[in-house]
């Protein structure tokens, strides 16, 4: 549904996009993840026809972003970083206005506004000016405005930035429902849990390139597999504990004496955990905490984007 090849964009001397490839199948969710300045927003702006790429090509919903921009605009919805709605007008008037600009007949625009207000729980606030809305309500209205023509492809640029946790969860539910109805969604985010919860595939961007792409679990596997982590009760437990663990696990343990902690990479996950628990119990070692850890997307993110190295390079 979204297909980009070697998209490049330069602003003055800054290369914002240095050949981005992206492939998002119909009905799936792609999370574009990356630090500030990685080029996520620029990529979204290219795909939504707001920016003309300097090189490469991109198609969205079967339309070329340069050659067929007008047709494309009827098939996408965009919710940017701001809640892009008119503060002075009422929620209803905003939706009617945007509907009319999609060239819906007046009556259809009105009916569509009504439907969307209902769907996003804004019917009661419909006749109030938007400046009286809460942040969450504004976001919902903004999302509603991007759904006026039932777009097959929806772009959301950092949709939950600045939202409280409850509004954030509510928005996630809304997005999941849209995807269940068949919408293809591309969202950019700095929140790894957001990408983890919503996205089928994640593309990690850094310095204008996609540095890694795949399902969340594949990306985690890339950084390393599961690990067993043990915290001992006393410093005295450490030595016999390490001994016991070495007896049942092949991996080389990583020892943090000050924290009385031990981490061992394992290949067979839960089974290793059971063997370790039995061995520690048999050795009579005091254990405070024992668990199987999977790498978080945060670790993936830091490993892949390597921000400190880049800062060094810049300095």
């Amino acid at each position: 549904m979204i297909h980009a090849e070697g998209v490049r964009k330069r602003f003055g001397t800054t290369e914002a996009l240095r050949g981005v490839d992206l492939d998002v199948p119909r009905g799936s969710v792609c999370g574009l993840l990356g630090p500030n300045g990685a080029g996520k927003t620029t990529m979204v702006r290219v795909l939504t026809t707001l920016l003309r790429p300097d090189g490469g090509s991109a198609r969205v919903a079967g339309c070329d972003v340069v050659g067929d921009a007008e047709r494309l605009r009827y098939r996408i919805g965009l919710a940017g970083q701001h809640a892009a709605v008119d503060e002075l007008l009422t929620g209803r008037r905003n939706l009617e206005l945007f509907g009319r600009l999609y060239h819906l007949p007046r009556r259809t625009a009105r009916r569509r506004a009504e439907e969307l207000l209902e769907r996003f729980g804004l019917t009661e606030a419909a006749n109030r000016p938007v400046r009286t809305y809460s942040g969450g309500m504004r976001r919902r209205l903004d999302l509603a405005a991007s759904l006026i023509v039932s777009p097959p492809v929806l772009f959301m640029d950092e949709p939950t930035t600045g939202l409280d946790p409850r509004s954030r969860l509510a928005l996630w539910d809304e997005l999941r429902a849209l995807v269940a109805e068949g919408t293809t969604l591309l969202l950019t985010t700095q929140y790894l849990d957001e990408a983890d919860h919503l996205a089928d595939r994640i593309a990690v961007m850094d310095a204008g390139r996609v540095v890694a792409a795949g399902s969340p679990s594949a990306l985690k596997a890339k950084v390393g597999g599961d690990r067993v982590s043990i915290a001992f009760r006393d410093a005295a437990d450490l030595a016999p504990g390490v001994e016991a663990v070495r007896g049942v696990l092949a991996g080389e343990p990583e020892i943090d004496a000050a924290e009385r902690r031990l981490v061992v990479p394992v290949s067979d996950g839960a089974a290793s955990l059971v063997r370790v628990a039995a061995a520690l119990d048999a050795a009579g070692v005091g254990v405070e905490d024992l668990g199987l850890r999977r790498p978080t997307l945060d670790e993936v993110f830091l490993a892949l984007t390597d921000a400190p190295a880049r800062e060094k390079e810049a300095a």
Binding site: T49, L50, L51, D86, E87, L89, R112
Partner: protein, 276 residues
Amino acid sequence: MITVEPPATRAERLRWALSDTFVIAGRSYSQLRAQPGQIAAELVAPVIMTVLFGYVFGSAISLPGGGDYRNYLMPGIFMQVMALSAVAAATSVAEDMARGIIDRFRAQPIARGALLAGRSLADLSKDWLSLAMMAVCGLLIAGWRPRGTPLETLAGFALLALFGYAMIWLGTYIGLFVKNGAQADAATFGWLFPMTFLANAFVPLEGLPGWLRAIADWNPMSAVVSAARELFGNPRSAAASWPLQHPVTASLCWSLLIIAVFAPLAVRRYRTAASR
């Protein structure tokens, strides 16, 4: 499920471009209705100027050719209100950019140019409203009386409104470059307001030093004021330069020139402008 296809024929494309323009103008109209005090608030300053110049400074100004200073002043005030319509235009377009509304419009299949055209038309009708309100103020406060025929008076206001329309396009263009409303205000009001004084709006130009007088003579604002004075039959001072000897032609030329330059520039800028 709602889907829309792009226009198939040239006629339909034109119809949609017109529809877009009116929908956008309708938005400005709704905004105005949402804050009915806005126009009145914008006119507080010119009313104060009318009183300040008409009764305070004006008491020390005598026109070289004779005539009533307050009747001389009002066309200057009208012009100043029109000149400063650039400020409101710049501010509102900059605010729309900062809020990302321009991005939303640009990601929608809106006819090229319709957004700015719609806004400019709405601003123009606002200018007419301001002129009407200021005319009433002039009649009541300053004892201003147009002495031309009704048609000439109407032509005078039309010429002022045309200048206002030119300034709306200038302001729109500037507004597309700045980051927010406050910057837009500084980038327009900051030089336009002093420039209204470097003209014959408030004082006759006879007393100015030569170089300053040359600037004031060729200031488009002077031509507009002179043209309005001529059409309203209000006192005028002696005209030494071509624009002030042919003020109606000169002000028409100035206004059309400004529109011809800044309207296309603004539309071009709008298509590539990024929200920040």
